[in-house]
Symmetry: C2
Subunit: 159 residues, 2 copies
C-alpha cells in the first residue's frame, strides 16, 4: 500500500514513466531536442542542481535513450545525443507542449513548432496545418512564440 | 540552484508537468480514461496509499482536469469525471503508451487500443491503421494485448 513506484503495473504508460517520469527528465530531453547537448549548457538553461542533472543523464544513458559522444580528447569530454529510442519520445514532448499551449499558456505559446521549409504550424497529431504532411522531428523548427519572455534563437530541432 | 520545480521555465512542457507530472497522476488519469471513476476502485487498481491518491485527485480537481460528480445522496458520494481540459490529455497518454509498447514491452503490448466499430489499431498519431480516420478518445476500445498478465475486460474508453 505504500509502494513508491509503478513496478507491479503491467502497463506501457507506467513503464514509460519509470524511465522518463522523474522530475526534470522530460525537461532535459527538451533541451537535447532543442540542440543543447552539453552538461554545462543544460545546467545553465535548467538551473537545476548539478548532482540531479548528472543522475538524470546517467539514467537516460543507462536506459538507452541518450548516448555519450566524445567531442574533445584532451581533456576527454562527451556530449549527449538522442538514440533512436530517444527520438521516439518526440510524440510525448509534442503532446505535453500542445496541451500546455492550450491550457497553461495565458500569454500564448512561448515556443511555436513549424514545419521546416513549409512554415506551417504543427497540429496535435504532428501534422503540418499548411501542407497536411506528417512531420518528423528532423523537419521541425522551434521559433519563439507570442508568449515568450526570454527569447531563444530559432533553432532547428536536433535529434 | 536547488529549485524543486519548473516554475521559472516559461515553457508549455514545464507547465503541463507542473499539473500532471507528479508521480501517480498520469496513472490516475489512465484509470479515469478506462472508466474507473471512484476512489475505492482506483485505490484497489493502483495499490497506492489513500492519502497520496486523495491528494492527487484534489489537485486534479483544483486544476480543472477532473470534476466531482455526485452519484449518491445518503451518504453523499461523488465520483471523478474528466473535464474537457482533462480529455485533452488523451494525446499525452497515447504517446506514453505507444512509446512503452515499442520500447518497454518485451512480451508485447499489455493493452491494445482499437478504433471502435472498425477494429483497426491506433498508430502513434492516433489515426486508425485500417481506415485512416483520426480517432478521438470516445472512438476507442481498450483490449487486453499479447503482453497482458492480469487481463482486464475490454472497455470502451470513457471520457
Amino acid at each position: 500500500m505504500l509502494r513508491a513506484d509503478y513496478s507491479d503495473q503491467n502497463c506501457s504508460i507506467a513503464r514509460t514513466l519509470e524511465l522518463v517520469g522523474e522530475r526534470w527528465t522530460i525537461m532535459i530531453l527538451r533541451e537535447v531536442f532543442l540542440g543543447v547537448h552539453r552538461f554545462e549548457e543544460m545546467q545553465r538553461n535548467l538551473g537545476i542542481a548539478r548532482n540531479v542533472l548528472g543522475a538524470r543523464l546517467e539514467r537516460l544513458v543507462e536506459s538507452g535513450i541518450l548516448k555519450r559522444v566524445p567531442y574533445q580528447e584532451r581533456p576527454p569530454r562527451s556530449e549527449y545525443r538522442l538514440t533512436a529510442k530517444g527520438v521516439d519520445l518526440w510524440p510525448v514532448l509534442v503532446a505535453l507542449l500542445k496541451w500546455g499551449d492550450r491550457h497553461a499558456a495565458p500569454a500564448g505559446p512561448p515556443v511555436v513548432l513549424e514545419h521546416s521549409g513549409c512554415g506551417g504550424a504543427l497540429d496535435d497529431r504532428r501534422r503540418c496545418e499548411r501542407c497536411g504532411e506528417d512531420v518528423e522531428p528532423w523537419d521541425v523548427v522551434a521559433r519563439p512564440g507570442p508568449g515568450v519572455a526570454r527569447p531563444r534563437a530559432t533553432v532547428q530541432v536536433s535529434a
